[in-house]
Symmetry: C2
DNA sequence: ACCTGAACACCGTTCAAGT
DNA sequence: ACCTGAACACCGTTCAAGT
């Protein structure tokens, strides 16, 4: 058998990504396999390799779309907060809400390692930078006398911090049950951090 | 062939764990396979299943030993710091130093998921609680008027925070190159957090 | 040109059979 | 009693062969 042409390359790409997302969302990324995805869209394994470089590439595309959804959620939530501090806290809450809603997709972003420790492609790095800019923006609004470098440093520290709480919560390493408790811990982190940050003329060591 | 009895069960266990650690340290946990480990110790795959329940169990044992090494390093470093605040900062630095020295072993602790989301065994949870107590102890020394609950919350927030910075650094998501820069970001997090924490009569929302 | 399906070199896990 | 090795049901990836 051959030459079906039921779908365009772009359609197959979309079907493949959607099927992968479905498997990841319901069974986790451990359950993702080329054969399973191919079966789900009614093609054979070989076809996937006409559209994607390999499984690593497929996962990278999936992760890109996860980052897009996360960005959308965050931006939407940012439209309903009052001042810079409230908006910064909202950033953390939105992040956790997403991780809680799509734990497997979210984890895959950080557990997926490219072969030979290669750098992710530019389009991917830009998505991350794009999201990161939102944190830096809010931190900058709170900074009274801090330099750009200190603001960048603070944004990385705080985003890393919120991220870590998420991870530990999802892997049950925090001894904290439920999303509410995670949100409370995140609030503790951000609240104390911001207090320390705005109260200092300079944070440089 | 059969009945070699060259080694006791305990010796095979030790050889298996050592070989697994070697593979993980040099090639990452993706490269770990039952057949590869068996080959490295001169036995066939079947033998591993006489000593370990399955590969998940083997990894759990490896992770337990990783936690032990981390604990040793932290406790040793804690003997050379001046006051509570310095010791707390040292905790973060030790943690990052370990993650940097043994990135693959360290990552495996958080990427390993038990089947069906089962809880890890008691002996494993105790190792984590043991290490966590070190953070709580230092936080408690810095707390002037905070309640036990606030101290526990703060310890979780701060440890989660340091952990997250580690992850993002290792996965190149922080735009920060090198251990020094990671240590600086961690310092920013801890310094601002502690400043906020000690300056507040109560952190309850 | 597009897709198949068989092949290759791997997996984790089990278990009858050998000594 | 201890260990093997073959079997089973899977993997990712490639590519000659079919239409």
């Amino acid at each position: 058998m051959a030459r079906r042409s039921d779908h365009s390359r772009e359609q197959i790409r979309e079907m493949t990504l959607a099927a992968s997302e479905e498997i990841i969302a319901t069974q986790g990324h451990q359950a993702l396999s080329a054969r399973k995805v191919a079966g789900a869209i009614g093609y054979t394994v070989g076809t996937l390799y006409l559209v994607f470089e390999n499984l690593d590439d497929l996962i990278l595309q999936v992760n890109g779309r996860t980052l897009d959804r996360l960005y959308e959620l965050i931006v939407e939530d940012q439209r309903h907060c009052a001042d810079a501090e409230a908006c910064l806290f909202q950033l953390g809450h939105s992040y956790i809400r997403f991780a809680d809603a799509e734990p497997y997709a979210w984890q895959l972003i950080f557990e997926h390692r490219l072969a030979d420790d290669r750098e992710p492609p530019d389009w991917y790095q830009e998505k991350i930078a794009h999201m990161f800019a939102l944190v830096e923006e809010r931190i900058a609004q709170l900074a009274a006398h801090q330099s750009d470098k200190e603001i960048a440093q603070a944004a990385r520290a705080l985003w890393g911090g919120v991220h870590g709480i998420c991870i530990l919560a999802i892997t049950h390493t925090l001894g904290a049950a439920g999303v509410d408790s995670v949100q409370a811990i995140t609030y503790t982190l951000m609240n104390n951090f911001v207090k320390g940050f705005v109260s200092t003329p300079s944070n440089k060591q």
